[in-house]
């Protein structure tokens, strides 16, 4: 949805462990990761890296 923000929580990401996480979308998106100790307040924020070539399924 346009202008919507989705949070994927740490508990959901736990299944990924130390594997990489790929975000796929149907259009432009701003992706970031919050690894701070106090919740998603932005103390430790990491931007997602855009991929120059598509990988995997759509």
């Amino acid at each position: 949805m346009a202008h919507a923000t989705v949070l994927v929580s740490g508990s959901a990401l736990a299944a990924a462990g130390l594997n990489q996480i790929i975000v796929r979308a149907s259009g432009p998106m701003a992706v970031s990761e919050d690894a701070g100790p106090s919740g998603a307040v932005g103390v430790v924020t990491i931007p997602g890296l855009p991929l120059g070539a598509r990988i995997g399924g759509s």
């Binding site: 989705v6 100790p37 919740g39 998603a40 430790v44 931007p47 990988i55």
Partner: protein, 398 residues
């Protein structure tokens, strides 16, 4: 300073909470793929195609065990085949050493890098025999930790919105020339009282392969907001900023530079905390005023926008924690648009209450419009748990 040994003394802290934030960019969706002059540009960090013959990444801004920001790099192979390469680690003392790396398919590697024999700061030049690998860097010290993308391209200029030298804060700019020709750069600092051009920071020569560190706080003292512009007279280079926040709200932030002003930025996730403060820093490095609008959105809907005319060579410090329209504890996003010139550069600084779990302070750049327009509509996020330095080469395991 002691030699630039990269030791395994520090155990990387286990991250307490990791959240991936995905914010839709509705307005851009309407023009996605449209041919605009900016569409010819690429983000400063872009994972190259898996079938590329080679790729390179530049990781500037790491300290060593000799200072407050010991560094490490992470290589994420998004492809189904192994990728090999070399990491050349250079120090600010001119020492360099090369380490071979191999990244198995669909794996994350935190390699044990050989240490230069001297120097207090290091940068890594990663050259790979193939594409599809994302490279990020992490720093850790007594004040906290930070993770930032490395840069996949050089530029003739780099911009850093926000930063501070007040209350004992440390601010340093790392300048790395990974090219084969000398580069001459000028540093300027945008402060609340105007632009500062320290004499010692003009005409800085970067020889091929050279790493130079410039302490900002020694030249721009006790300024609450210091945005930095580094411009080359000739050539291209890479740059990163390291911000050290002192106690009682300590923190450590590594911010890689932005190569250009842009007209659209997004901060996907923000939250105000009780007893804390935060701000959005909007730098206008251009020669014309920019009309800037910040659209804040709660999950329940948009708030009334905030706007300002940002004069050339100035930073609009929007203290979001002072905006009563933003409820404390509520998640919100910020969509920043600029018009009137080539654009602005956006960052965010956060200080949680001193009683919060460390690190309490941090800063990061916004998501620039180019990065929201991934050519594949795919992104990868960095693994946020790192190996201790010197503990081996195996992927995906602490």
């Amino acid at each position: 300073m002691s030699p630039a040994h990269r030791t395994s003394q520090h155990r990387w802290r286990v991250v307490a909470l990791v959240v991936v934030v995905i914010a839709g960019v509705g307005v851009l969706a309407a023009t996605y793929g449209a041919a605009t002059p900016q569409s010819l540009a690429t983000p400063a960090s872009l994972v190259s195609s898996p079938d590329a013959e080679s790729s390179a990444w530049y990781c500037a801004g790491q300290g060593t065990s000799a200072n407050a920001a010991s560094g490490q790099i992470l290589l994420t192979n998004t492809t189904g085949h192994a990728v090999t390469g070399n990491v050349t680690t250079v120090s600010d003392a001119g020492a360099a050493v090369r380490t071979a790396v191999a990244i198995p398919p669909h794996s994350v590697v935190s390699p044990t890098l050989q240490a230069p024999l001297s120097g207090s700061w290091v940068s890594d030049i990663v050259t790979l025999a193939g594409g599809g690998v994302a490279v990020t860097q992490a720093v850790q010290g007594p004040s906290g930790w930070s993770i930032a993308p490395c840069q996949s391209a050089t530029s003739a200029a780099w911009y850093f919105p926000g930063g501070t030298t007040s209350s004992g804060a440390g601010l340093a700019i790392s300048l790395l020339n990974p090219t084969t020709t000398p580069v001459v750069v000028d540093l300027s600092f945008v402060t609340p009282s105007g632009v500062v051009h320290p004499l010692n920071y003009q005409g800085v020569v970067l020889q091929p392969g050279q790493l130079v560190i410039k302490d900002v706080e020694s030249e721009v003292q006790n300024d609450s907001t210091v945005s930095t512009v580094v411009a080359a007279r000739t050539g291209r280079f890479v740059a990163a900023q390291l911000q050290l926040f002192p106690a009682p709200a300590a923190g450590l932030s590594l911010v890689t530079g932005f190569a250009r002003p842009e007209s659209h930025w997004v901060i996907p996730q923000s939250q105000e905390t009780q007893g804390g403060s935060s701000e959005i820093d909007v730098l206008n490095p251009g020669t014309t005023s920019e009309s800037v609008t910040v659209q804040l959105r709660l999950p329940s809907g948009p708030l009334a926008p905030l706007s300002s005319t940002v004069a050339p060579d100035s930073t609009w410090v929007l203290v979001t924690s002072g905006e009563t329209r933003i409820p404390v504890g509520a998640s919100y996003s910020a969509d920043i648009k600029a018009s009137g010139g080539p654009g602005v550069v956006v960052g965010r600084t956060v200080r949680a209450a001193a009683s919060a779990t460390a690190p309490q302070s941090g800063m990061a750049g916004g998501i620039d419009g180019l990065s929201t327009m991934s050519p594949t509509a795919q992104w990868t996020t960095a693994p946020t748990r790192c190996r201790p330095r010197g503990s081996g080469h195996s992927p995906r395991a602490l």
